[in-house]
């Protein structure tokens, strides 16, 4: 098995197309309508949006370059701690905090990418996992700074843009997360449909052949990994700012694994897979855990199995299969 094979053989092979369609409109209307209709569950909505952004960042690595990462929480966590610590120590301005979160995560991503590029297949997976675990340990050891297992509290946010207070109902946090995520989405879409994005896909399809075409594989992977890390950092930063608490689990293996599940569930390498996967997983988990707070894992496990058996390449894979079937009866 090569890691690349995992993501391969799936998404559309045609040229990327970043024209705005009615599907895009419909999909982006959903969170806006949700804001109005489910105005009493915005804290959940916010976490869904943040998870989607996090999954999107993983998608750049996994879906578009074929590198399987089980340590992606490392960057999420770095972003969360950066934004959290800034606000904890008196700098509660959200946007600059987010920029710092992205910067720190990007630097770490850049550094890690050299280790990842060196590795191979499963080795890559374990290197990112190892980096994540090391950071987790470091954050626990540095409890004077991070609060360790107990978590970092006392995060006081200033008003967003000087106007909007982070309210108890979570309206500000939700819209803030949504707008940031939308901006990140537009950026990623642009990048992935550029020649750079094409070369990433090419790397996924056949890493060995690319040097022959003059594509500097290593450098492309480094760039993609850095971008992904920065976005993960933003997701982490958003979470720290809107939840106003950072606990060690932001760096945990479980978080890395969960985001991978979400992405694969939605469909890797398809951009919207991250959104659909995060939405489905988080909402299902919330619903099931409310119905059955002790045994909800039974039902969520069943859901995952059913999706795998029905759909190749996640929910979006299923959609594509169905659409292809309709076109060629």
């Amino acid at each position: 098995m090569t890691a690349a094979a995992g993501a391969r053989a799936a998404p559309s092979t045609g040229l990327p197309d970043d024209r705005w369609t009615r599907w895009d409109t419909a999909l982006w209307l959903a969170p806006i309508v949700a804001f109005a209709v489910f105005s009493d569950r915005l804290e959940l909505g916010r976490d869904v949006v943040i998870a989607a952004l996090f999954a999107l960042s993983l998608d750049i690595v996994l879906g578009y370059t074929g590198v399987v990462s089980l340590g992606h929480a490392a960057f999420f966590g770095l972003g969360a701690y950066t934004a959290g610590l800034l606000a904890h120590h008196g700098w509660g301005e959200p946007l600059t905090g987010l920029v710092c979160a992205a910067a720190v995560a990007a630097v770490a991503g850049y550094a890690t990418s050299f280790l990842v590029v060196r590795g191979a297949a499963l080795g890559q997976l374990m290197i990112t996992l190892g980096v994540g675990l090391l950071l987790h340990e470091a954050a626990n050891k540095a409890h004077a700074l991070t609060g360790g297992v107990d978590g970092l509290g006392d995060i006081v946010m200033w008003r967003l843009a000087g106007v909007f207070r982070f309210d108890l109902e979570g309206r500000t946090a939700y819209l803030y997360s949504l707008v940031v995520t939308f901006a990140a989405f537009l950026l990623v879409r642009r990048v992935l449909s550029s020649p750079f994005g094409l070369s990433l896909r090419a790397i996924r399809e056949g890493m060995a052949r690319m040097p022959a075409l003059g594509v500097p594989v290593g450098r492309r992977l480094v760039a993609a990994f850095t971008l992904a890390a920065a976005l993960a950092g933003i997701a982490g930063g958003l979470q720290a700012q809107s939840a106003r608490v950072v606990t060690l689990d932001v760096l945990s293996f479980e978080r890395s694994a969960t985001v991978l599940i979400m992405l694969v569930l939605g469909g890797a390498g398809r951009m919207y897979g991250a959104f659909i996967g995060a939405g489905l997983f988080m909402l299902a988990r919330d619903y099931l855990a409310r119905k059955d707070p002790v045994y909800w894992q039974l039902w969520i496990g069943g859901l995952l199995i059913v999706v795998v058996l029905l759909a190749r390449g996640g929910i979006l894979g299923l959609v594509e299969t169905l659409r292809a079937r309709r076109r060629t009866p």
Binding site: D18, R19, W20, T21, D24, T25, W28, L29, I32, V33, F35, A36, V37, S39, D40, E43, L44, D47, G90, G92, N140, K141, H143, G147, G148, V149, D150, G151, G153, D154, I155, V156, M157, W158, R159, G162, V163, F164, R165, D167, L168, E169, G170, L186, Q239, A243, R244, V245, V246, T247, L248, D249, V250, A289, R290, P293, V294, Y295, W296, Q297
Partner: protein, 437 residues
């Protein structure tokens, strides 16, 4: 992307939001005075599910014994799964319980991160938050609406340090889990022990989810202390420590085992087995506590949870007492929504006889004051029990060691309580800062 389509999307969106939110509005007139809603946040799944099960057992016991109505109000318990140490999940659940479900009390909180994450919600949502287990000392300082019915680790470890120094133990090695409660226990024990003239010859911290303890046990054995002080959380960690101590022959090497009751929790004692015999611990509850209240509690626990649920431990008792506290508050406040400030006034200074002995809520810190017992594991009627040897009545949480958290202002605003929750005034960009530091 083509801009007209994008623009159209944006316009549609705005229009839709306007339409829907206009259609909504009505309803929601605050907390209902009918049913009493308790929002219980616990790690019901995952590695700490055993904690949650004990607490659920305590709640069930209380409600079976005292009925599910209080002051004419039906009690509705809403359980939410925090999944463990994930602070943002607990926070989200607390927010949901306060904002959407409009619960009268937030309670549960088996683990410290759950409690610390939810604290700001208690403050902002003006909802009393009743801690049933989480034991890190600082928790009650994080919101003026927090009250704790369980324990703090300094409270139970300091008397042990005292006792050790007075009972001919000169040199001690410590082993604690490397997280908040562990640090608390270590600091309080060392402070008390060295104040009594004892010497600490080695201090080891193990990773919070350490799979095995052979190396630590060997290190302690080779340091040749008179005794070893241990704190690790009850569960896999405590069983693993006891096993490796037995296998290393710590007792045979003449090293006494001193620990908090977490290591020898009544529920797990049978799983640990005879390795526990002779171990000395300090804690606030033992199933072997001899009192009519405890007998009644044990019977009620078995009745409510079935014989196969095994023995309750200190977590069930704290949950049981917390329920008593909540019922007392509701009885005083009667129907109508629970006013958090009034509720806190009733909690402050509340005292009654619990299955563990007399307890009281400190009016200043809203933390528990209780008798801490020195116990020894003995075999009674073929079963292992923590038999109480000595009592330290009215134990408060001792002042933190220098370098720890600063003492909090009495009963007043907690750190990070932020600005008062009022509607956002446009244009005023004051950096909200807590009154502390």
């Amino acid at each position: 992307m083509s801009h007209p389509a994008f623009l159209r999307a944006a316009v549609t969106a705005v229009a839709l939001v306007g339409a829907v939110s206009c259609g909504k509005k009505a309803g929601d007139d605050g907390k209902g005075g009918g049913t009493l809603k308790l929002g219980v946040i616990l790690s019901l799944s995952g590695p700490f599910a055993d904690v949650a099960k004990q607490i659920q057992g305590g709640i069930k016991t209380y409600m079976k014994q005292h009925g599910d109505t209080v002051a004419g109000r039906k009690v509705e318990v809403l359980y939410r799964d925090s999944t463990g140490m994930a602070g943002e999940v607990s926070k989200r659940l607390a927010q949901e319980l306060v904002v959407t479900e409009k619960v009268d009390f937030l309670t549960g909180f088996g683990l410290t991160p759950e409690a610390l994450a939810a604290a700001p919600i208690a403050t902002e949502g003006k909802t009393p938050m009743v801690i049933m287990n989480a034991a890190t000392a600082i928790i009650t300082s994080k919101s003026p609406y927090i009250v704790r019915f369980s324990l703090t680790l300094p409270q139970v470890s300091a008397p042990l340090g005292d006792w050790a120094a007075k009972n001919g133990i000169k040199k001690i090695a410590t082993l604690v889990s490397d997280y908040g409660p562990g640090h608390d226990a270590e600091a309080a024990f060392i402070k008390a022990f060295t104040a009594g003239g004892g010497e600490i010859i080695d201090s080891v911290r193990s990773p919070p989810q350490n799979p095995e303890f052979a190396a630590f046990a060997q290190r302690i054995k080779d340091a040749h202390p008179d005794a070893v002080f241990v704190f690790v959380p009850a569960g896999q960690q405590s069983v693993a420590v006891m096993k490796s101590f037995q296998e290393r022959g710590i007792a045979e090497a003449g090293i006494k085992l001193l620990c908090t009751g977490d290591l020898l929790d009544d529920h797990q004692l049978a799983t640990i087995g005879d390795a526990a015999l002779g171990a000395i611990s300090t804690h606030h509850y033992s199933v072997a506590h001899d009192s009519p209240e405890n007998k009644a509690f044990l019977d009620a626990y078995r009745d409510a949870n079935g014989a196969e649920a095994g023995l309750p431990n200190f977590m069930s008792v704290a949950a049981y007492d917390a329920m008593e506290g909540i019922y007392r508050v509701v009885q005083k406040l009667g129907s109508g929504k629970i006013d958090a400030d009034k509720a806190m006034e009733i909690f402050k200074g509340m005292s009654f006889t619990s299955p563990r002995g007399p307890i009281m809520i400190d009016p200043e810190t809203r933390d528990i004051v209780q008798t801490v017992y020195l116990r020894k594991v003995e075999k009674a009627n073929g079963e292992l029990r923590n038999v109480e040897q000595q009592a330290f009545p009215n134990m408060k949480t001792p002042a933190p060691a220098p370098g720890g958290e600063p003492p909090r202002p009495p009963g007043g605003e907690a750190k990070g309580s932020a600005e008062p929750p009022k509607e956002p005034a446009k244009g005023s960009a004051e950096p909200a800062k807590g009154s502390g530091k």
